[in-house]
């Protein structure tokens, strides 16, 4: 039996890696993928606690998180396509028209 702590530590590590990818990478699509990584890390924590407490609420919430992530990915990628068309670049530093 794997202790629940191990799962939650893994979830924290994956979340941290997702945050680092969000800060460090410059391509819009990769930044978006790091958001998905963070959501997945949180899902893992939910399912681990659901098993530990013996109730299924965690798994139901994970289903809702997955659905929301799907909707967000669809709209977000639509926005990314528009940005790419408008600025002809996928580098997030070049989208700086509002900068001083």
């Amino acid at each position: 039996m794997v202790p629940t702590n191990y799962y939650v530590i893994l979830s924290a590590v994956l979340f941290g890696l997702g945050v680092f990818a969000f800060i460090f990478k410059r391509n819009i699509i990769t930044i978006f993928m790091s958001i998905e990584l963070m959501l997945n890390a949180v899902n893992l924590a939910f399912v681990a606690f659901s098993q530990a407490l013996g109730k299924l609420d965690g798994q139901v919430f994970v289903l809702f998180v997955i659905v929301v992530a799907a909707a967000e990915a669809a709209v977000g990628l639509g926005i990314i396509i528009l940005i790419a068309r408008n600025r002809q670049t996928l580098n997030v530093e070049r989208v700086n028209l509002l900068k001083l």
């Binding site: 941290g16 680092f20 460090f24 990478k25 399912v47 013996g54 994970v62 809702f64 709209v75």
Partner: protein, 167 residues
């Protein structure tokens, strides 16, 4: 070293390697493939936790639909190798320290927690699918209907956003 522990370490290592590879790869399509590896490893971990329905849904929706969407967009936009400017390298160092601090703090707190939750063997009496469907259609029916509305809004939004300009 029991068998579930070995399987856990293998899957956890796979997930972490996938996440690190997401950061270190230069081409976005390789990052996308690494993220798919992470999702499959997580689906394996859900199976290990006894959440079989969530594992199957994770692969079907995340691995088979959302990541396909990412791969399509990368192909259509012809994304190339990404360049790192000086700003991003400057952001990398404090970012790394911050992330290590954040993840390390959470992990250390959990590892040192004295009141460990007694994990029950599997998720109890009902099979996972039957229990989840009972909960979704009885207790959580209102959020369920709202999510279908949310998906409709997302579909409409994505269609409108990705249209060509009518000039």
């Amino acid at each position: 070293m029991t068998a579930p522990l070995v399987v856990f370490f293998v899957l956890a290592a796979l997930a972490v390697i996938g996440a690190v590879s997401l950061i270190l790869q230069k081409h976005p399509i390789h990052s996308a493939l690494s993220l798919i590896v992470v999702m499959i490893a997580l689906a394996g971990l859900y199976l290990l936790l006894g959440a079989e329905f969530v594992a199957a849904v994770q692969i079907i929706v995340y691995g088979g639909a959302i990541m396909v969407l990412f791969v399509f967009v990368i192909m259509l936009l012809n994304a190339g190798i990404e360049e790192h400017t000086s700003i991003s390298k400057m952001a990398g160092v404090p970012g790394l320290l911050l992330v290590v601090a954040l993840a390390g703090f959470v992990a250390a707190t959990i590892a040192r927690s004295t009141e460990s939750i007694q994990a029950t063997s599997q998720t109890g009496e009902m099979a996972s699918t039957l229990g989840i469907s009972n909960m979704i259609f009885k207790d959580f029916v209102y959020p369920f209907e709202l999510t279908s509305f949310l998906i409709l809004v997302a579909v409409l939004g994505a269609t409108v956003l990705a249209q060509r300009e009518k000039s």
